[in-house]
Subunit: 204 residues, 2 copies
């Protein structure tokens, strides 16, 4: 079994290498950034599994994952991350990743997950995925109507009421109404505050 480990954290990469190599039948190759990893995949022979660090140089978020998946030999690719949220994990799996590994995993779990994924299964730690599941997506956004949400999006883009009206194909007074009610709901005193609140909440 051939596994490619791509992570810019020397320490973690070495450890992973060590643990996997000591497993019978696992051959590992290492890279410290996305470009090196992509080249190794391109050169072949094919890997049974590629581990991509979410935050490594060249990754550009999940763009790297998608680029890797589109490559000839890049069919089994998993994301490994120390900081990413459940949303990112879900998006990765959605894009066709073989799995998602938070760095909070123990070495033993990680080795097991690697074997699991190399066999063609899709893996993600259940407790991690459940973690934020219960919490409401966005306490602020959920109390806004569809239109108000769209208007709020316009606000965060620094548009004027008139521009928002044009984009949504409604009259300006209507936009003003949505803006006003929206302020009340999220507790903003003016459009800039509304935009900042939305930004803080991680919307858009």
């Amino acid at each position: 079994m051939r596994v490619l480990i791509a992570d810019d954290h020397d320490l973690l990469r070495d450890t992973l290498d060590l643990f996997l190599t000591s497993e019978a039948g696992i051959e590992t190759v290492c890279a410290a950034n996305f470009n090196d990893a992509a080249q190794l995949v391109a050169e072949g022979p094919d890997f049974d599994l590629v581990l991509l660090d979410y935050g490594m140089p060249g990754m550009d978020g999940l763009n790297g994952l998608e680029r890797m998946l589109r490559m000839p030999g890049g069919h089994r690719v998993a994301i490994i991350s120390g900081s990413a949220t459940r949303e990112v994990a879900e998006a990765a799996l959605e894009s066709g990743a073989a799995g998602f590994l938070p760095k909070t995993l123990s070495a033993k779990s990680l080795v097991n997950a690697v074997r699991f994924m190399a066999m063609g299964e899709q893996y993600a730690p259940l407790d991690f995925m459940r973690a934020a599941e219960a919490a409401p997506q966005h306490p602020l956004a959920e109390q806004l109507s569809t239109r108000e949400f769209e208007v709020l999006k316009g606000l965060t883009e620094g548009k004027s009421n008139k521009e928002i009206a044009r984009d949504l194909d409604i009259r300006e007074p209507t936009v003003k109404l949505h803006v006003k009610t929206l302020y009340r709901k999220i507790g903003a005193a003016n459009r800039t505050q509304a935009a900042m609140i939305a930004k803080e909440a991680g919307l858009f």
Copy 2:
């Protein structure tokens, strides 16, 4: 020598534990979050060095570092991080941290750094600190005058010109002037855009 390793990444913590323990004369204790770490420090006996992960639960950025430094036994504390920027590293050292360790370090360098710091030295990898040094701190912010910067801060807080004027103890027309010139400099069409641009740039 007693070292406390506080990191929520099981894998990394175990590895660090392994490497340090194999070094003669280093005794390690582990914690997976800030509160556990703080309790271990409080209980004593004193550690020669405490390694705090920047992103672990309970840390709250550099707040955790400062709280730890204020504790009776918490004199030698280093920050370890996989994602933090040079700015954070500098701020940590400024606050009195014993060092800053990016997770891109190799195991060997890391063990050396730990020994170095435990001897009372302050450590930070030179290449890491030099990395962003050349690049302008904030391409946007640097072209603003002091006043314009203060006004921009007010904008991001959703204040009106009048409020900003009061806070800075200047007249409102002056604020308007700064706002206008500031728009030109950062390429904003209105105050909301200015606030969002500042936010995107990571200011405030």
